[in-house]
């Protein structure tokens, strides 16, 4: 088995007296797509926040390729190849769709510090941004401000920003939530494409069972902040633990 690209050790965060994520130890490997399931409030988003740097854990560590990320600011983790899309759309509302993506492209290319070259002259950056626009079928809306997009397109732009970062670790937090049925496949196809690259580590929070079945190499289950199941999708989904959690009587298990 390949070395894990991402590991969390005893990752824990407490908000006041409430432990939102409790001692989660887990390895993720390149070429593997892990779906994270669990009821609302289970701690999935909080777990992501500690990996990508929006939150600092109370205890425990986050490592990527042997580098300790635990105390790094989010920007540095991004430069180490940790990419993240958000559950609640988190864009640059007044900037155009193209500018939104170009920001991620120029961050990835390390061109953000250029302060004297007109953007128009950096055609390579724009060309790359346009590729992601096309991949997410937003090309005809390139000049619109992000705030003017309908919800489904904003979700796609959220994913496009992550793609444009070209990370090693892709973290999707309910990417198709609130998306209409005709838009969701656009996003899911992109995730499938990343998966078929076989070199990327993908973490996906998703509730739709057909999606999970289609894409997952592995499923982990979070409940009340704890990792309660981890394994082969078929096994995990049919296990008693998961049935109990989704029936809402998992209290006895913990």
């Amino acid at each position: 088995m390949t070395h894990p690209s991402l590991s969390t050790r005893d990752l824990t965060i407490r908000f006041g007296g409430h432990t939102a994520v409790n001692a989660v130890t887990c390895d993720f490997r390149p070429g593997e797509l892990t779906v994270i399931v669990g009821p609302n409030g289970a701690g999935k988003t909080t777990y992501f926040n500690m990996i990508s740097g929006q939150l600092t854990p109370s205890t425990g560590t986050v490592e990527k390729d042997g580098i300790d990320l635990t105390r790094m600011p989010a920007s540095q983790r991004a430069r180490h190849g940790v990419g993240r899309a958000f559950q609640l759309t988190n864009l640059f509302p007044k900037l155009s769709v193209l500018e939104n993506i170009r920001l991620a492209v120029q961050a990835q290319a390390g061109e953000g510090r250029r302060f004297f070259t007109p953007v128009a002259k950096l055609t390579e950056l724009t060309a790359r941004a346009e590729r992601y626009l096309e991949a997410t079928k937003l090309a005809d809306k390139a000049e619109l401000p992000a705030a003017a997009l309908p919800h489904g397109d904003q979700r796609k732009l959220e994913v496009a920003l992550l793609m444009a970062m070209e990370p090693d670790i892709y973290m999707f937090d309910e990417p198709t939530a609130g998306m209409s049925l005709d838009h969701a496949p656009d996003v899911l196809d992109l995730i499938a494409e990343i998966k078929h690259d076989h070199t990327k580590t993908v973490l996906l929070v998703e509730h739709k069972m057909d999606v999970v079945r289609q894409l997952a190499d592995r499923i982990i289950v979070l409940h009340n902040g704890e990792l309660i199941a981890d394994g082969d999708p078929g096994e995990v989904m049919s296990s008693q633990v998961v049935k109990d959690v989704y029936l809402g009587n998992a209290g006895e298990l913990a």
Binding site: S75, F86, E99, R102, L103, G112, R114
Partner: protein
């Protein structure tokens, strides 16, 4: 696109008028106004980098302006009026501005915006107090009067006719005064152009991203505190350079010309009237405000005289009430141009 073009056309017209203003407007006072407009366009544009582009609220902009002005003033007073001392004073002012900006930036740009604003307010107050306390160096409340480099002396003949007298072109004497004006004009135009390059560069987009969504900017890989500090330093050094240029022009530097909070409020009004985050708006806001400050009273005098026969109106229009009318004009401008003049022309009234 067309709307942006209209704003650029207005701003470029202003720069065009400034370029020819010694020939178009030959009165001494008019030349003073033109030079002040050029300097304030730079000052307001550099402030717009902070407040309009990056969303940083600072009250220390006149402090940085003052560092540059006092740098030149002290160097030329303590030393002499050669270019050597001019360069020394300018560099010292710019260096102090950069160091203070880095310190304030690193210490407090990672905290809440309101706290940062307070820190800048405190720093600016300290600078003002220092300027009046260290009167041996700064001249205290009276300020410093000094000579600018000899090329700028009115007696200096740039061009002479065959009799050796100063040459006139279109009635304008080609003497040191005109050299001084063009020194102000070209340094200011250069700085404005450089700021346009900055906002049009990849860095410019990052600045706007920080304003729009700081957390996501950090999340896609930009160290926000570093970018904020960088733009704060750029704005501070630009303001200091503008101060050095203005000090060279005025041949006088005091708290009222550079450091005072009254000027800080002027800058805020100019950036709001022009349109935050538009850069070109700085030219429009600065021009309108300086013109109003210099000519509103004159205009009202004319209006009061013209309405002499009508009851009440001459009283209302009495030049003594010019500040009242300035206030009314601001309220109307903000009402009809909620995003500032440039911002409202570009984006329309609704947004």
């Amino acid at each position: 696109m067309n709307r942006t073009f209209a704003v650029k056309a207005i701003a470029l017209t202003i720069w065009g008028l400034l370029l020819f203003s010694p020939f178009l407007f030959q009165e001494v006072r008019q030349v003073e106004v033109a030079a002040r407009i050029a300097v304030f366009i730079v000052l307001v544009a550099s402030y717009d980098l902070l407040i309009g582009y990056t969303g940083i609220v600072s009250f220390a902009h006149t402090m940085f302006f003052g560092f540059g002005a006092y740098g030149v003033a002290i160097a030329m007073k303590q030393g002499d009026n050669t270019w050597g001392f001019w360069i020394l004073g300018t560099l010292a002012g710019v260096l102090v501005a950069a160091v203070v900006a880095v310190l304030i930036g690193l210490l407090s740009l990672r905290v809440k915006a309101i706290f940062f604003a307070m820190i800048t307010l405190a720093a600016a107050s300290v600078a003002l107090v220092l300027a009046s306390q260290l009167s041996g160096l700064t001249g205290g409340e009276d300020g410093i009067t000094y000579r600018s480099p000899d090329v700028f002396k009115s007696a200096n003949k740039l061009l002479t006719d065959e009799e050796g007298k100063v040459l006139r072109i279109a009635g304008v004497r080609m003497n040191g005064k005109i050299a001084a004006y063009y020194f102000v004009f070209f340094t200011c135009a250069l700085m404005f152009w450089m700021m346009l390059r900055i906002v049009g560069s990849p860095l410019g987009t990052v600045l706007k991203a920080i304003r729009e969504n700081e957390a996501r900017t950090e999340g896609i890989g930009y160290r926000v505190v570093a970018y904020r500090t960088a733009v704060f330093v750029i704005a501070a050094t630009t303001a200091a350079l503008a101060g050095a240029v203005y000090a060279t022009w005025l041949k006088y530097t005091g708290p009222d010309t550079t450091l005072s909070f009254a000027i800080m409020i002027d800058i805020l009004l100019m950036v709001v009237i022009g349109g935050m985050g538009t850069m070109w708006g700085a030219a429009i806001g600065a021009t309108l405000m300086v013109l109003a400050q210099y000519y509103l009273r004159d205009l009202m005098e004319v209006a009061a005289a013209a309405t002499e026969a009508i009851p009440l109106l001459p009283v209302l229009l009495s030049p003594d009430r010019w500040l009242l009318w300035l206030g009314i004009i601001f309220i109307l401008l903000v009402y009809f141009f909620p995003a500032g003049i440039a911002g409202t022309i570009i984006r329309g009234r609704k947004s």
